[in-house]
Subunit: 111 residues, 2 copies
Amino acid sequence: MSLDPEIAARLKRNADGLVPAIAQQHDTGEVLMMAWMNDEALHLTLTTGRATYWSRSRDRLWVKGDTSGHVQHVKSVALDCDGDTVLLKVDQVGAACHTGDRTCFDAGLLG
Amino acid sequence: MSLDPEIAARLKRNADGLVPAIAQQHDTGEVLMMAWMNDEALHLTLTTGRATYWSRSRDRLWVKGDTSGHVQHVKSVALDCDGDTVLLKVDQVGAACHTGDRTCFDAGLLG
C-alpha cells in the first residue's frame, strides 16, 4: 500500500523527498515539535492513526513513541496551500520532546 | 547589525542556510503558516517585532505584510531542542495565507 495518488500529486517535497510536518496538540493548541515525512510516513500517519515520520539522523521510518511510549494519536492531517508542509493535530502521550519536555520549544525562548 | 552570536551558534541551518519557522497565533493557538528564515530574517524578527522571512521563490528578505498589509506582530520567538526550527507566536493582522484564508492549512484537510 502506498500514499493516495491524489495526495501524492499535491505534495511538494524537498530534494530529499521530504516535507516538514508540524505536530500540534489538538485541544490545547501547543505546537509540540517539527519533524519530516516522506510519502510512506504520510501514508502510515493517515492510515494507522499513529504519527509516523522519517528520521533523517537514523535514515529510517520512525513511528513516534515506539521506543519512548510517547505516542501521538492522530486527530487530523492538513496540507498547506503550497503542498509543502503538513500540520498534524494529535493527542500526545507524555512528552513530545526527547529531553522530557512537553514540547520541543519549551526550553528555547529567545530574547 | 547581525544576529546575536549566541543565538547564531545554536542554529542548525539547512544546506541553503535556512531554518523553518512556524507562525502561530498567540492567543487562539492557530498554526498560521510555515516559512523559512536565514540569520538576518531571524535577527530582524527579534529586533523589529515584525515577522520577517526569507522568500525562497523571490530569493530575498520578506517582511510579512509589507505588500498585503497582513502583518505579524511578534509576541515571542523560541528555538527548538535541536536548534533547527523556530516557533513564532504572533498577532496576525487579517489573513496569514496568500489565498485569503486565515491560515495556510484551512483548505487542506486530508482523509
